[in-house]
């Protein structure tokens, strides 16, 4: 979906996707598609985590040893 204003066109679907990715990353969940693309490009021999496993792995890492957030 494309919206035109101020003489420019905006891809609303792309903006919504980016906003959702930003919200996910705020709570420590990176983009699964980037991960899958990276694995396919660099380590095609290794096993790819499913979306669900990826979610659980990231969650465990965020609150593991590091995970310092501010006061």
């Amino acid at each position: 979906m494309i919206c035109r204003c101020f003489g420019q066109s905006f891809d609303l679907a792309a903006i919504a996707r980016r906003a959702a990715a930003a919200a996910d990353l705020m709570v420590g969940l990176p983009d699964y598609d980037s991960y899958a693309a990276h694995m396919a490009g660099t380590h095609p021999d290794r096993k790819l985590m499913t979306r669900e496993d990826f979610f659980r792995e990231r969650q465990a890492t965020r609150y593991g040893a590091g995970g310092i957030r501010c006061c």
Binding site: A22, S34, Y35, R58, Q59, Y63, C70, C71
Partner: protein, 679 residues
């Protein structure tokens, strides 16, 4: 273009002049907003550009760790706006909302000036520098970098300092929750309700629909709003209200128990889902508050400068210098950011040149949050502000005694007005609820109810604000206890390797127990303190936080010396020196001041003199209590001395490292190779 910047400068200066010149009438909060935005714009456009191009010389051709070590998990090149959101969500917490509220007792002007000057020359510089250092070193942590750049001794000193700051941070945050929830059935009910809501969300995203963070957060949000509504019904019912009314001491033990249990449970059950809620609620509330201020355009009823700059203020004791500069840490300069900025963000940066936007820019945004908190505290009637923030030992426990005492200070208020505010927000009393959260909540409810709902929704907005703060403080308690546990296991592991094994249940439980006891001790001490505890604990927290900032800036200066850029090192040396002066002076006064309200030794002296005369002083009720007060004083004294020694040792180590770097003719810093990208 130059003309536009000249206009921004003139507008900013004019707004500050409007704020500063006392015309005997109230000033609109919009002037404060405009002054702050002009300062941020100029600082970002000019000073951060100077830092980026002349001091750090960011290199757009240099590959960042997100590329050189890309693993699709921790190291991922990430869009700069997305990363800005991640970084901002990680640095902004309860801190910028509390310090400015406490500092408002001196009037809104001193706090405003320190927030603005501090963020431009110290806070944002620190965050920017720390990100830069970490990006150039494969995303390594602050402790790691101190070890490699300043030596193993400095590394151990810094890690002890960080553990101590964690303990004080957790205690003071827990105390804020206690102050807000003691004797408040509405608040207590909603906070209890967050536990089953979080568990429900946790199970949903564990078993039903993993990876749907926004979906589960939406469900949680709806349930949370329902809990606030139900809390009102609970508070209105005498039987249920009594069941959810807890004293401060009971809440302290509940939190200590919670901290222990929650931090050994699996993270997906409570911690992660509540983290989602608190993060999104935090961002949403900040936006709502900003919009509310712009729409309502409230008048600042607090004077620009109050009589309490002389150090006799009821909220915290001590004069403007040094205590204002440690009371407002987050929002101006916060050492804790040095830990955050050397964590996940540097591993996701696409290009070095984006550091300016993410490092410097996100900190300016946090500073804007602090300015909003200051506005929310200053729109209250000053009499109501002092009633909420002065301890019971000074203003008594009834609306009559409080109104009489506060009016005598020159801030006229009637007992009826105090009871009316409590009634409006659905509480039995608002007296002596120091700690920032309730004051901010009343201010926010006045602003937000001006946008949606009018006076009828004030109680809802008040409890929304309380819940929002309680929620992310509980998340920090849970996550922070885990971090403290890992730190203890790491330090103990240097003595015996068995302690380091995180699959060793005995070591885990032991270290968790130790961490909880450490902050629990300070929390309980704060809760029973007749001066309200915030009086003692917030300065300790401020000193430790600014101490960490001084350490981080010292590291930044050392690295600049090692990079042979000593001529520009003043950007780090000057703020580091200023923070060292503030923390050391404040620490010295906390220990040696002859005024018992400020000095721990003078306070202990007063109690031991009473003890030898056979008298019992409040809060103590027995001789054993008297001894406990003395012990607390000496523990606080020791902790302050520890912070001061850490600062002195780190400054010494920094001076030695810098002198060594000066003596050799080549670059001696330990950057990773960071191959230059193929053009």
């Amino acid at each position: 273009m130059k003309l536009i910047w000249a206009l921004v400068a003139i507008l900013g200066a004019a707004s500050l002049a409007v704020l500063a010149i006392d015309r005997g009438e109230t000033v609109n909060a919009l002037w404060l907003v405009v002054a702050a935005l002009c300062v941020y714009a100029i600082a970002y456009r000019f000073y951060s550009l100077f830092l980026a191009t002349r001091v750090l010389r960011l290199d757009p051709a240099r590959r960042t760790p997100a590329y050189t070590r890309n693993d699709g998990l921790d190291y991922v090149p990430t869009n700069k706006y997305v990363l800005f959101g991640h970084h901002f969500a990680a640095i902004a917490g309860a801190g910028p909302l509390v310090g400015p509220v406490l500092a408002a007792q001196m009037g809104f002007l001193p706090g405003t000036l320190w927030i603005l000057v501090g963020v431009v020359f110290a806070g944002a510089v620190q965050d920017f520098l720390m990100l830069f250092l970490s990006v150039r070193r494969d995303g390594r942590s602050l402790g790691d970098m101190i070890r490699t750049e300043m030596g193993p001794f400095a590394g151990i000193v810094a890690s002890i300092g960080v553990l101590a700051i964690m303990v004080i941070l957790l205690a003071v945050l827990a105390l804020i929750v206690v102050k807000a929830l003691a004797n408040s059935p509405w608040g207590s009910f909603t906070v209890f309700a967050t536990v089953p809501i979080a568990v429900l969300m946790g199970c949903y995203s564990r078993f039903l629909r993993p990876h749907r963070v926004l979906e589960v957060s939406g469900i949680g949000f709806v349930l949370l709003m329902g809990a606030i509504w139900a809390g009102g019904a609970v508070a209105a019912d005498p039987v249920w209200a009594a069941r959810f009314t807890f004293s401060g001491a009971t809440w302290a033990f509940l939190l200590i128990g919670y901290g222990f249990v929650a931090s050994v449970l699996p993270v997906w059950l409570i911690l992660a889902p509540r983290d989602y809620l608190s993060t999104f609620l935090k961002i949403g509330t900040i936006c709502a508050l900003a919009i509310g201020i712009l729409i309502v355009m409230p008048e600042l009823r607090m004077p620009a400068i109050s009589r309490f700059i002389d150090g006799t203020g009821p909220v915290f004791a001590g004069s403007l210098f040094p205590f204002l500069f440690i009371t407002i840490a987050c929002g101006s300069v916060s050492g804790f950011h040095a830990l955050v900025a050397t964590g996940t963000t540097p591993k996701m940066l696409e290009n070095e040149t984006q550091l300016r936007f993410i490092g410097y820019g996100a900190m300016l945004m946090e500073s804007a949050v602090a300015i909003m908190a200051l506005i929310a505290a200053s729109v209250l009637q000053p009499g109501a502000y002092f009633a909420m923030n002065a301890p019971a030992a000074i203003i008594g426990t009834t609306a009559q005694s409080a109104a009489a005492k506060i009016s005598a200070w020159g801030f006229a208020i009637t007992p009826e007005a105090l009871t009316q505010i409590a009634h409006d927000v659905g509480e039995a009393t608002i007296l002596s609820r120091a700690g920032g959260a309730p004051t901010l909540a009343v201010g926010m409810s006045q602003i937000l109810s001006g946008v949606i709902g009018g006076p009828g929704l004030m109680a809802f907005w008040y409890h929304f604000a309380i819940l929002f703060e309680a929620l992310f403080i509980l998340t920090t308690l849970d996550a922070g206890t885990r971090v403290a546990r890992f730190m203890i296991q790491d330090l103990a592991g240097q003595a015996h390797p068995a302690f380091r094994r995180t699959d060793n249940w005995a070591a885990n439980i032991g270290a968790t127990g130790l961490a909880v006891c450490a902050w629990g001790y300070f929390l309980y001490q704060g809760v029973v303190d007749p001066l309200g505890g915030i009086n003692t604990l917030w300065p300790l927290f401020g000193i430790s936080n600014q101490m960490l900032a001084a350490i981080a800036l010292t590291l930044g200066a050392v690295v600049l010396f090692k990079m042979k850029r000593q001529r520009t090192a003043a950007v780090a040396v000057v703020p580091a020196a200023w923070l060292a002066v503030c923390t050391l002076t404040a620490g010295w006064e906390k220990i040696f001041s002859p005024i018992p309200a400020i000095g721990f030794l003078a306070h202990a002296g007063k109690f031991s003199a009473a003890l030898s005369d056979g008298r019992i002083l409040a809060p103590a009720k027995s001789v054993a209590d008297m001894h406990q007060v003395l012990t607390n004083d000496y523990v606080d004294c020791g902790l302050t001395a520890l912070f001061m020694s850490v600062v002195v040792l780190m400054l010494g180590a920094g001076a030695v490292s810098s002198a060594r770097a000066l003596a050799v003719g080549r670059i001696t810093t330990h950057e990773s190779r960071g191959e230059v990208a193929a053009q």
